[in-house]
């Protein structure tokens, strides 16, 4: 090379100048825990499966989803989606419709016939599961995938538990439920119907472990003085009889007593059975009502009436005596001494449910407090190898929590069978809203799911809420902010003034070149999803 004019030193590149020595803070990539995942009672990796759905890879999304929960089509209909309440996008415009995308994936799986992969190995260990509800089926699914041999013994004539006998058809069509249950059975899980376990200690002798998930099917009663001809039934039997041939005869004017989601289900079902008046009587106010507000709203839309601050004192033929209540300083209802009467052809009690614990008799070291089976952190009862979950143990009682219990129990049962203990991974730090740079996300409002016409909601059991089609499901998935987890937007790679970010290619993310990174922090500030953190250098 000809040396340039008036140059004494050889020209060189600035790569000889390692500017990384200027740094006092270094950026590091990390995965933070998205609030949706953190809120999911089934521990679904929601951000993870939305990531696949965003690129249109629905099967991969479904597979990742079902790693944690085998019922996406059911969840997409009946889950109360606490994930959406925590969604960071809610602070931007409105939460991502996680529930509607989950339903789309579940329905897509049924439509396309996607199956779970059958385990390659067999552990040779046998597990008995009592009860084919969401908790039992979920445990069966996870245990089967771990290679264990699973048998479910179910007292009822059909699988599904409260998903079938508690949730009305207009919220969960039975063909959807059947498809998701069948897919679990296809893993080789044996299901024995109409076989009530009378004594668990005896029944589990042929098994290495057992999981109790019998649910809560006994209706709580309240003492209401009633005349001979008063027509009183409980919500559990009423909803259960909806699955049989003989529909319950409730009359034209139905009163439902209670304030939970079950009371709403009963009132809406009564309306569909032809009741002209379907009235819920509840002792407190709407704010204090345990039922979810959207369900109350949907019931009111369908013409269900609610009588607040009232208790039922007396039931006679065609007539109820109701006492007005008021709330005291603590928000508890107290009687006022004012009575009134209301006409009613029948009264349905929806006052909560208890667990039938008769099968536990004679099991040693088992603790039951106030009708609730006590389990330790690993979901095992005091009796070695006997685990319990779902509505039987203390928890919020809903399908998602139950499915989560099934998964958790399966992991502990698997560890128990191997003579080990299951240690859950420590949780990543939370990706809260303050960690995001929301400038970068496109403006996009939530997709509203279609609702059935009001007249058909009052006269038929057709599903009330419609699903998304592929176009708007994809749109909805892409509203995900991917909180705390890199989604390869290239921002860090682009905004580094020092070319100190190395792009590793699709799906492989990035790494820092600390030889040249000056620690300016632009990458961390401009990362939309908060997947970069600045940490002080050790000096």
């Amino acid at each position: 090379m000809i040396k340039p004019f008036a140059i004494t030193l050889k020209p060189g590149t600035s790569l000889a100048n390692l500017t990384g020595t200027w740094r006092t803070e270094r950026p590091v990539y990390l995965d933070r825990l998205p609030p949706c995942n953190n809120a999911c009672p089934s521990g679904e990796n929601i951000q993870g499966w939305l990531y696949h759905a965003e690129s249109g890879d629905y099967e991969q999304a479904w597979r990742l989803l079902t790693e944690e929960n085998p019922f996406p089509a059911v969840m997409g209909r009946v889950c109360y989606h606490p994930c959406e309440n925590q969604c960071n996008r809610g602070k931007l415009d409105s939460p991502v419709g996680i529930n509607s995308v989950e339903r789309f994936l579940g329905d897509e799986a049924i439509k396309r016939g996607w199956k779970f992969s059958v385990p390659q190995h067999s552990s040779g260990r046998k597990v008995l599961i009592v009860g084919a509800g969401p908790s039992g089926l979920s445990a069966a699914y996870h245990l089967a995938r771990m290679g264990h041999s699973v048998e479910i013994q179910e007292a009822g004539p059909l699988a599904g538990g409260m998903m079938r006998f508690g949730i009305p058809k207009y919220r969960l069509p039975r063909d959807v439920l059947d498809a998701e249950v069948q897919r679990i059975l296809d893993l080789g899980v044996r299901l024995k119907l109409n076989s009530k376990v009378a004594n668990i200690a005896q029944s589990m002798q042929d098994f290495d472990a057992a999981f109790l998930a019998v649910g809560a099917h006994i209706a709580k009663r309240a003492y209401i003085p009633a005349g001979d001809a008063a027509h009183i039934i409980d919500a559990v039997s009423m909803l259960r009889s909806m699955e049989g041939k003989e529909k319950p005869m409730l009359g034209r004017r139905v009163v439902v007593y209670g304030g939970g989601n079950t009371a709403i289900d009963v009132a809406r079902t009564a309306r569909r059975l032809g009741a002209t008046d379907s009235i819920i009587v509840y002792r407190r106010t709407r704010e204090k009502m345990p039922a979810h507000d959207f369900e109350v709203e949907e019931a009111l839309q369908e013409g269900v009436m609610i009588k607040w601050l009232s208790t039922i004192r007396q039931a006679d033929e065609g007539q109820l005596t109701v006492e007005k209540m008021r709330l005291d300083d603590k928000g508890m209802p107290e009687p006022t001494g004012e009575f009134e009467t209301m006409e009613a052809d029948s009264l349905v009690l929806a006052l909560g449910q208890d667990v039938d614990l008769s099968l536990l008799e004679g099991v040693s070291n088992l603790e039951v407090k106030n009708g609730i089976v006590q389990v330790s952190d690993n979901m095992m009862t005091g009796y070695p190898g006997l685990f319990a979950g779902g509505d039987m143990v203390i928890s919020e009682r809903n399908v998602t929590v139950a499915a989560g219990h099934g998964k958790k129990a399966a992991r502990h049962i698997d560890a128990f069978l191997r003579g080990a203990s299951y240690e859950p991974q420590s949780k990543h730090e939370l990706a809260d809203y303050g960690k995001l740079n929301t400038w970068y996300y496109s403006d996009a409002d939530k997709t509203v799911r279609p609702m059935l016409d009001i007249i058909r909601r009052q006269t038929s059991f057709d599903e009330v809420q419609g699903g998304l089609n592929e176009t708007n499901a994809l749109f909805e998935a892409r509203r995900c902010l991917s909180c705390g987890n890199c989604f390869e937007c290239d921002n860090c790679y682009g905004v580094c003034p020092d070319n100190a970010v190395i792009k590793l290619g699709p799906g492989k993310r990035f790494k820092f070149n600390y030889d040249y990174c000056k620690g300016c922090g632009l990458c961390a500030t401009e990362c939309p999803c908060g997947a970069i953190k600045m940490v002080p250098e050790e000096i």
């Binding site: 020209p11 060189g12 390869e488 300016c520 922090g521």
Partner: protein, 333 residues
């Protein structure tokens, strides 16, 4: 028409890249094979807006000219931090002569390429606001007037930074520099017209004039590539915050540029033959306070002895820009 953003793909075109876009829709900066015109190891301060803006612009010019590019540099931060003798960060043919003559040198190179028949080789000249609006202004105006086939890019950080933050004719009103009044009834740079170089360039009637910021990469790349598709004198003015001279945090460079644009203080537009053809609309309008407060060079406007009347005058400038260029959408306004 101007830059057409992608309507909705999670982040649209706001981020540098987007895995959901097809390859032809992606930015130059998102590519693993971008030319990295200014390589690592340069001596710019942490979070330098100019180093970033120069790489954005020259990489885009390299992509559009298929690597057939010669860059001319005026004296200034960019020249000093990228080429301390005998090192160079440049990965393009690059030449520096003196402070004020970059446009003239570029004119000469363009003429030489024409004589040699190398029509595929394109010429870019670049400098800071000092080298452009003050010292090189005569040469630049001549280059415009002759319509020489050069794209001139000005990286505007609103003062002479590498010599210690002296004011230039691009320094905004009331900004503190080493050579403006530190105290008095109106501290900081005087209110006046300054030199609005994009408009002066437009007055020459040259084929293309555009402004851009480091906060709007896709728009910046679009403008450089569009300019490179044309011949004759073209001018792009890029807003590049300076953490050192402005007293901002090194990680705030892009945010500050974004705030300047969202407040209306720095209008982003493009013009052909002296006529404005498109503007980048304000997405979420802010007041000028939000832009001024994070910067220490405006600290005297706030604090224990505030100057709300001066802030109001700066707001007037922003409002005038918004009216003049139509920076707000009709519905948003």
């Amino acid at each position: 028409m101007g830059f057409q953003p992608v309507k909705f793909y999670q982040t649209g075109t706001y981020t540098v890249g987007n895995r959901l876009l097809s390859p032809d829709q992606r930015s130059v900066q998102a590519g693993e094979s971008r030319s990295n015109s200014i390589n690592s190891g340069h001596r710019a301060c942490q979070g330098c807006g100019e180093a970033l803006g120069a790489r954005y612009a020259i990489d885009a010019a390299m992509a559009e000219s298929h690597g057939q590019l010669i860059a001319v540099n005026a004296t200034g931060c960019l020249e000093v931090f990228s080429t301390p003798y005998p090192e160079s960060s440049w990965q393009v043919p690059w030449i520096h002569s003196v402070f004020g003559n970059a446009p003239a040198v570029a004119t000469g190179i363009a003429a030489a390429m024409k004589v040699k028949g190398k029509t595929e080789v394109r010429v870019v000249a670049q400098g800071g606001d000092g080298g452009t609006t003050d010292i090189g202004f005569g040469c630049l105006s001549g280059m415009f007037e002759r319509n020489d086939d050069v794209l001139y890019i000005c990286y505007d950080n609103e003062a002479y930074m590498n010599t210690g933050v002296q004011r230039s004719s691009a320094t905004p009103p009331s900004a503190r520099t080493a050579t403006t009044m530190p105290v008095g009834p109106e501290p900081g740079n005087a209110f006046g017209q300054g030199k609005n170089l994009p408009e002066i360039a437009m007055a020459h009637g040259i084929p293309y004039v555009a402004t851009a910021t480091v906060a709007d990469l896709r728009d910046l790349e679009y403008k450089v590539r569009r300019a490179m598709k044309m011949h004759g004198a073209r001018y792009i003015h890029i807003f590049v915050p300076c953490p050192l001279g402005w007293g901002t945090a090194s990680n705030d460079t892009i945010r500050i540029a974004r705030l300047a644009r969202e407040s209306g203080l720095f209008p982003v537009f493009e013009a052909e033959q002296g006529e404005v053809t498109s503007v980048l609309k304000i997405r979420r309008k802010i007041t000028v306070e939000e832009y001024l407060m994070p910067q220490k060079r405006f600290a005297h406007l706030f604090g224990s002895h505030p100057h709300p009347e001066m802030v109001a005058r700066i707001q007037d400038i922003a409002d005038r820009n918004i009216r003049k260029y139509g920076l707000l959408d009709e519905e948003a306004a």
